[in-house]
């Protein structure tokens, strides 16, 4: 089985000649959930943004279902089947919930039917559809952000710390939601600081440090690994958001 | 021959006064990254106040206090600084371009006061009659000929120019100048080093505007006249063109740009007057304005660093 998303020797950074990512390799199996963990400044967010087309790539490539999508503009990613949920500011606060969704559904042929599907998936959003998105609670905002990313029926979804800033209960709900997406065939790659919970829902885990691959393996094995446990799951949560 | 020399003296005096203005703008834009859209306002404010304080009394006209020239010009400088301080305090905390809009507005507001408040500014005809410093003494020395006085005044302007230049060079090479550039390059980093960006910007803006006010005071003494057209936006455009041509962030460039653009401006004026057909004479102004606009846009597109680029930059970064 080929990887739905494959990252090969990726080098990327905001400033020329100063790459934050140094030859990172990563593969995500179809319809699986992969989590990237690592200390602050490891380049986790940069990696996801580079895949989404928001950070200039200086070397290596990104393959989506075998197709090279390196250097493609971020606004074209959705149509290619890749969605991205930013960590903060991931909804348009001045637009109503319905308008937020209508915006991402602009290029979707059966947009009315798709809107109904999304409302069925997130009944809270349907209830509040005419309200400004700014009026939503933290968990509801995250739901709207996920709904927006799901709108164009992506095959791969990138999420940058979806549980950041949420209460433990809501954070767990959001990660369970990410898990449930894989059951609908969506491939999910997420960055998390909430390591224990993320590992408990993930299939596979990559650890990044200083812009390089550190190690990777099945999430369950990483969770059970005593060394990893010492560093990432011990009393001190590294770089809590 | 004496005619040519006396014209050159006249030209150099005016170019020197403008070079002082450009140096003031260079402190604001070149070193601190502040956009002053109303250079003419600060120049004009200095000019009008110098005239009001040091000018001759006229019936029905406020001012004309016959203050000694140094007192009058200091008044002009302080007034220009006061306006700069007021608008700096209001806008320097906001988005960068608020300062540009506010200063542009100050120039328009002052111009309309100059045109309309006749009791204060003489209205459209302006104010004339200014006892030039040491004029009687020096003209007498020259045997009644005013050529010697012209030379003396040029020397005075160049002395002020040199003083401003040296002062700014010392200021910008000092730790203070490095702090200004640090704020221009990366405000957040400068703030984390304990610099107060708003205060430093305000100081730079006020000092730059006071330098412009000083140039206005010299201008009044030179022409013994000031009018609303001295506040017109074209002066702002000319001074900006001088700075971008010479090289923003380089004081030698600022002076060079002032002399070059003023020479080009005067020469193009002569050329158009001599060569353009009679029917086109009304339109020499617009042609010159288009040239100034093209110089600004062209420099920004193709040589934004100017003829003499900023040099201290690398040094400041290390």
């Amino acid at each position: 089985m080929t990887a739905a998303l494959k990252i090969e020797a990726l080098e990327a950074g905001y400033v020329r000649d100063l790459p934050i990512l140094r030859r990172v390799d990563l593969g995500v199996e179809r319809a699986s959930l992969t989590v990237i963990i690592g200390p602050n400044g490891a380049g986790k967010s940069t990696l996801i943004k580079a895949v989404a087309g928001l950070v200039p790539v200086s070397g290596g490539r990104v393959l989506l279902d075998g197709k090279d999508i390196t250097g493609i503009r971020p606004d074209q990613m959705g149509a290619l089947g890749l969605s991205y949920v930013p960590q903060t500011d991931n909804i348009f606060r001045h637009l109503s919930i319905r308008e937020n969704l209508a915006l991402v559904l602009r290029r979707v042929p059966d947009r009315q039917a798709r809107l109904e599907e999304l409302f069925a998936l997130f009944p809270v959003l349907a209830q509040k559809q005419a309200d400004r998105a700014a009026s939503l609670s933290g968990g509801q905002r995250q739901m709207l952000a996920v709904a927006m990313a799901l709108a164009p029926r992506p095959r791969v979804m990138l999420m940058d710390e979806p549980s950041a800033g949420l209460s433990p209960k809501i954070a767990a709900e959001v990660l369970d939601l990410a898990r449930s997406l894989t059951r609908q065939g969506v491939t999910v790659l997420l960055v998390e600081q909430n390591v224990r919970k993320a590992l408990s829902v993930a299939d596979h885990c990559y650890i990044l440090a200083e812009g390089r691959n550190q190690m990777d393996g099945p999430a369950a094995a990483i969770l059970a690994d005593p060394v990893v446990g010492e560093i990432y799951l011990g009393g001190r949560r590294v770089g809590a958001a | 021959m004496i005619g040519v020399i006396s014209y050159l003296v006249f030209f150099a005096t005016m170019a020197g006064i403008l070079a002082i203005v450009v140096l003031g703008l260079n402190l604001q834009w070149g070193y601190t990254g502040l956009f002053n859209g109303g250079v003419a306002a600060f120049f004009g404010a200095g000019a009008y106040v110098t005239m009001l304080l040091g000018g001759r009394p006229e019936p029905g006209q406020f001012g004309g206090f016959l203050a000694p020239f140094p007192v009058a010009i200091v008044g002009g400088i302080l007034f220009a600084g006061l306006i700069a301080w007021f608008f700096g305090v209001l806008t320097l905390r906001l988005r960068h371009d608020y300062l540009a809009i506010a200063t542009f507005g100050v120039a328009i507001a002052l111009e309309s006061v100059a045109r309309n408040a006749e009791w204060l500014t003489g209205g459209a005809k302006g104010l004339r009659g200014f006892p030039r410093p040491l004029e009687a003494t020096i003209t007498a020395l020259g045997g009644g000929d005013n050529f010697l006085y012209g030379l003396f005044f040029l020397a005075l302007v160049l002395a002020v120019l040199a003083a401003v230049y040296v002062g700014l060079e010392r200021l910008t090479r000092s730790p203070y100048g490095r702090a200004l550039r640090a704020i221009r390059e990366d405000e957040a980093a400068a703030r984390s080093l304990g610099k107060n960006p708003v205060r430093l910007r305000l100081e730079s803006f006020v000092i730059g505007s006071m330098i412009m006010g000083a140039a206005g005071g010299l201008y009044v003494a030179f022409y013994a006249y000031v009018g609303p057209q001295d506040l017109a936006p074209i002066l702002t455009f000319q001074v900006w063109a001088m700075l971008i041509v010479g090289g923003a962030g380089n004081n030698r460039g600022a002076v060079l740009g002032a002399f070059l653009i003023w020479a080009a401006w005067t020469a193009s004026g002569f050329a158009l007057a001599a060569l353009a057909p009679q029917a086109m004479q009304l339109y020499t102004g617009p042609i010159q304005y288009i040239l100034i606009g093209s110089v600004i846009v062209g420099m920004l597109l193709w040589r934004p660093q100017g003829i003499l680029p900023e040099q201290i930059r690398q040094q400041g970064r290390n």
Binding site: D75, E99, L103 | L90, T91, A109, F237, G293, L300
Partner: protein, 304 residues
């Protein structure tokens, strides 16, 4: 006094139309565009040329719809002028601002816009002369609404106000009812997220220049219909449209509309107490008041 108020509302409508595009450009491209008001002049002169050409080609079009002085040829000419002005705004962005945007900071664009304004204004002077021009030599008779105090209204003025409000209403519908409008508002709020949501930024920049140019051209024609046209049109409106955007808060379209009427009415009313020579300074006093009382404008949330 009431006459001043009515004239102020009319000028306010013109300022509002001009300020809508400016506030969007200032917000999206993050620079104060000192060349923006020249779009009013480009629009008005383009309409003048098209009107003369159309009237010469088809004299039947040149008959005014009484009691207006507006003819079918001028109406058509205005639409053409809106398109041309929008296109010229795109061309100027393409030739100058886009290149500077690519390599320098926002203040260099402010600087460049100074130069662009100077070039456009004086090129217009060279092409059309210093003298004031009128669309129509017909005398527009005013209707006396009241003799004490004397209040006069011309049919053209009513037409201009209605047409300006209609344009604003149309733009409001675009913003609130179409997905293109959602995209415009999305880019205004968060350009990066808008890209993630599938909006192409460069397309939106072109769209904003087209809209701004079109609305400004209409503003220029509307002002000229009730006054006269000179190359100073753009520079006369520069400070008023800036004032309107600052009053409303940079980036707020509705703020700009309200700000435009506020600046127009305040300038109109100031005529009742101040000599007319001070009117150009009125928008400046309004900017001053906003900076003192509410620096981010009535609807703004723009931080430094």
């Amino acid at each position: 006094m009431i006459q001043n108020l009515l004239d102020g509302i009319l000028t306010g409508a013109v300022i509002s139309l001009g300020a809508i595009g400016l506030t969007m450009v200032m917000h999206m491209l993050r620079f104060a565009n000192f060349a923006y008001a020249e779009l009013l002049a480009i629009g008005a002169y383009a309409a003048l040329v098209f009107d003369r050409v159309l009237a010469a080609l088809a004299p039947a079009l040149a008959t005014a719809f009484k009691p207006l002085t507006v003819s079918a040829s001028l109406a058509l000419a205005t639409l053409l002028a809106m398109a041309i002005t929008g296109a010229s705004a795109v061309v100027v962005d393409w030739l100058v601002f886009r290149r500077i945007r690519a390599k320098a900071d926002a203040l260099s664009m402010v600087f460049a816009s100074f130069g662009v304004a100077l070039i456009i204004r004086n090129a217009i002077t060279l092409a059309f002369g210093h003298n004031a021009q009128l669309f129509s030599q017909d005398i527009a008779f005013a209707t006396v609404l009241s003799t004490d105090p004397l209040i006069l209204v011309k049919a053209d003025q009513v037409f201009v106000l209605v047409a300006a409000l209609a344009l604003m209403a149309a733009f409001h519908i675009v913003l609130t009812r179409t997905s293109f409008g959602f995209a415009l508002r999305a880019v205004a709020e968060n350009p990066t997220l808008a890209q993630v949501a599938g909006v192409r930024l460069s397309t939106m920049i072109v769209a904003v220049w087209l809209i701004g140019g079109g609305l400004s051209a209409a503003a220029g024609v509307f002002y000229t219909l009730t006054n006269h046209l000179s190359p100073a049109l753009g520079s006369n409106f520069l400070l008023p449209v800036f004032a309107a955007t600052i009053v409303g808060g940079i980036g707020s379209v509705y703020g700009a509309v309200l700000g435009g009427f506020l600046v127009g009415v305040a300038s109109g009313l100031s005529l009742a107490v101040l000599p007319s020579g001070y009117v150009p300074a009125m928008p400046f006093l309004i900017i001053l008041a906003v900076l003192l009382l509410r620096p981010h404008g009535l609807f703004g949330e723009d931080q430094a």
